[in-house]
Amino acid sequence: MAAPVIATGLTLLVGSLLFAVLGYDPLATLQAFFIAPLNSLNGLSEWLLKASPLILIACGLAVGFRANVWNIGAEGQLIIGAIAACGVGLFYPDPDSILLLPLMFFAGAIAGMAWAAIPAFLRARMNTNEILVTLMLTYIATLLLSWLVHGPWRDPAGFNYPQTALLSAAAMFEPFDYAYRLNASVFITVVAVFLMWLFTDRSFLGYKMSVSGAAPLAARYAGFRESAAVWTGLLAGGAAAGIAGMAEVSGPLGQLSPQISPGYGFAAIIVAFIGRLNAFGIVLGGLLMSLLFLGGEAVQMNLGLSAALTRIFQGILLFFLLAADFFIFYRLRRIPEHA
């Protein structure tokens, strides 16, 4: 429990120094970074809105990470999920059907899983490195999205902007209040957190995956298939990312454009590790990461800090958090010179 406290303390210290040296009032800056964004209902709504996909994706990724399956392409799976969901929303014959939203949900999940199935197949069958494959597929997904919104799916009535038509109301999650953007999709994340806890803490499949991660030889000794861990890990991450993509188009976005994610898929990797790969920790990690997103925007707009500076500050915090965790498990000691 000491690690997060030490890390936060160090960040505040180094951050204050940094701001002071550059001529900003440290206290005011920190206040604007961490406190001001949460001072309004709208701020709270934005906070949860951004935390939700981060937590959702991190839950899916952590399932694989626990078994040493390294899916770092959640960003690509999110994009593909968003494309599939939006495709259903745009082209389903009855745009007012109540089936539309559930259909889009499944389309997003299945598309995300399908995208993650490619590295799973390659790793299970041909022992390729899933880190490379998932990352490469992210670039492909980004370009595919770009091609769609510039070409075949571009809204004919959209003044040539590279974006699709807006989705119908039946294809969107209802916001809790039309003044704010937070919508019912946060419940998906709540369910995902519970499922993730159930899976990793209680289920036999989750148990097998933890054996694969902690002692591969013991997994082989017991006859747990390595390929099962690879498939489960990647599909869980793919499904979570695909659903997060769907929730973005059916929520705050309402349509596709070339840029649909501020890097949720990558940030979720950090969230998973800050949360030490367990469900409760991931919730805290997601809330923190989301606050960093919001705070970064806020100081840029209100105090005129540069985007680079806010990113440096975010980096410092994450670095200290992960480093503090590391040093809790591995102690460095000076070894006297000899011989």
Partner: protein, 513 residues
């Protein structure tokens, strides 16, 4: 002359247990001193404290009369203290010579070091190839690496924590010669072993621990092994009862013409291996480590599969293509030689390690692990096999070596297998527990199970087996009836020289005379 090593009032506790309780002892230069005690008595803990790998809660250590304060393994090595760990501390992914260079650290001339290793290891009858990667080595070979690493340093105090558990008898003889030589040059040796005959042969003095306390000292050369055993266990050893076996008509395990290529360039190719094990009998597989046992056992256990399904049949069903879990469904259970990392997941609790192979015994319901059932299953093993642990919540790697071994053997036996494969069943287990495990294996077989024991300990094999097989250079001998053979015949078969290809490096490792 001050003692080489003096311990005063060493105390160390772990949560829920006092591993070392006010221990004092001293060892003179050139003395070979045994530390004896049951599993979990605190021997390894004490050695780690001497070596600086663990810190005592209180107490003092003196080396050559000077106090040793706040030391680490590195400072210990600088003082001339070397230790062979019970659970080896080697880096898996690098080669033998690189491992040794890391510990020696004065030299980075790997070629010269490699030559030194080859020369020294051959001289001591423990040949190792310095360029092999550690993760390809069998347990016996790793033990040789650890010992050679220590001997390279010309230590002043050498700590050996069960160094011979997986060495061949021939290598043990050579090792003892070396240790006596070292002692005559003034090196003190602390020697831990559960093999009392070795202790009697080698050691001048002994300290006996029980439950973390010193309960006595002895002069092993002047005591009988029964006396030593009684000091350790605090009671007489139980008698073994081996009733005659009544083998079943059909074999439970049938291996027919099993041929398999080596896993890698250092592995051993299996050549046309055929044998069978019937229900109700115990078959022993003797052989010098590194002659194909690892390959054979991984093929039998299903950790490695074989394309010819009929090469291995379990209970009349083709099984060579099945994985370990599918073979367990046919009634197989298996105890591997590595307990940490293979037979058990080191950072998992005992109840979780029960689920590893006993999940079919009602520990999983509706896809969820039933923690209550798993805990009570683990608690049952702990009680029946007298595993010294804090209960099902204890972490596997916090158990003493012998106690984890008891847990794994107990878990597999509790599954009531039809076919029981067991490698080194009593490795690192104290005399009392070893007798209990052997008796349980005999009882299991007499109740109808087929048992295959892979062991390098001929005494153990002769005590419990009905028939014996010998493996040498990937070939398995025809079966020998225990009562119609003797140690000499088996020993000869174990080191049989295949003159045809005796020139390659493989044969050198396999032959030790």
């Amino acid at each position: 002359m001050p003692p080489r090593l003096e311990l005063r009032n060493i105390t160390k506790s772990y949560p829920g247990i006092i591993a070392n309780d006010d221990i004092s002892m001293s060892i003179m230069p050139g003395e070979i001193h045994a530390v004896l005690g049951e599993n979990g008595a605190g021997k390894s803990t004490l050695m780690k404290i001497i070596y600086g790998a663990a810190q005592a809660d209180s107490g003092e250590i003196f080396c050559d009369g000077k106090p040793v304060a706040a030391h680490t393994p590195a400072t210990s090595r600088a003082l001339g203290i070397e230790m062979v760990y019970q659970h080896f501390a080697l880096f898996e992914s690098v080669t033998v010579v690189e491992n040794i260079a890391l510990a020696v650290s004065s030299t980075f001339d790997l070629d010269a070091l490699a030559r030194q290793i080859t020369e020294l290891s051959n001289r001591y009858g423990m040949p190792i190839d310095p360029h092999r990667r550690v993760h390809d080595l069998s347990v016996g070979e790793r033990q040789r690496v650890e010992i050679v690493r220590c001997l390279l340093q010309a230590p002043k105090l050498l700590i050996l924590d069960e160094p011979t558990s997986v060495l061949t008898p021939q290598a043990v003889v050579k090792l003892f010669e070396t240790l006596r030589q070292l002692a005559s040059e003034g090196c003190s040796i602390v020697y831990i072993s559960h093999k009392l005959d070795e202790v009697q042969e080698l050691c001048d003095t002994a300290t006996v621990l029980r439950n973390g306390k010193v309960t006595g000292t002895a002069r092993p050369k002047e005591s009988t092994s029964a006396q030593l055993a009684r000091m350790m266990v605090g009671a007489e050893l139980p008698e073994m009862h081996v009733s005659p076996s009544v083998p079943s008509d059909k074999p439970v395990l049938e291996v027919r013409g099993l041929t398999a290529p080596a896993r890698d360039q250092y592995g051993v190719e299996l050549k046309n291996v055929s044998f069978e094990v019937r229900g109700g009998e115990i078959v022993g597989l003797a052989g010098v480590s590194g002659n194909g046992q690892a390959e054979l056992i991984s093929l039998l256990s299903g950790e490695r599969t074989h394309p010819n399904a009929l090469a291995i049949q379990i209970d009349g069903k083709a099984a060579a293509h099945l994985n370990a879990s599918e073979r367990r469904k046919l009634g197989m259970a298996f105890v591997p030689e590595e307990r940490l990392g293979r037979g058990a997941v080191p950072p998992h609790a005992l109840w979780q390690n029960a689920v590893l192979t006993a999940h079919r015994a009602g520990l999983v319901r509706n896809g969820l692990v039933d923690r209550k059932q798993a805990s009570s299953f683990a608690a049952g093993i702990i009680e029946r096999f007298k595993v010294k642990a804090n209960g099902p919540q204890s972490i596997a790697q916090s158990l003493s070596g012998g106690n984890l071994q008891k847990f794994i053997v107990g878990r597999e036996i509790a599954l009531e297998p039809k076919l029981f494969l067991v490698a080194q069943p009593t490795w690192g287990v104290d005399v009392g527990a070893a007798a209990f495990i052997r008796q349980t294996i005999v009882d299991l077989s007499r109740s109808g199970a087929a048992v295959l024991v892979i062991s390098e300990e001929l005494d153990e094999l002769f005590e419990i087996c009905d028939r014996l097989l010998v493996i040498c250079q990937g070939q398995v001998s025809p079966p020998l009836i225990r009562t119609k053979t003797n140690r000499e015949e088996i020993g000869l078969l174990m080191t049989r020289v295949d003159r045809g290809n005796g020139s390659n490096g493989r044969a050198e490792v396999a032959i030790q005379d």
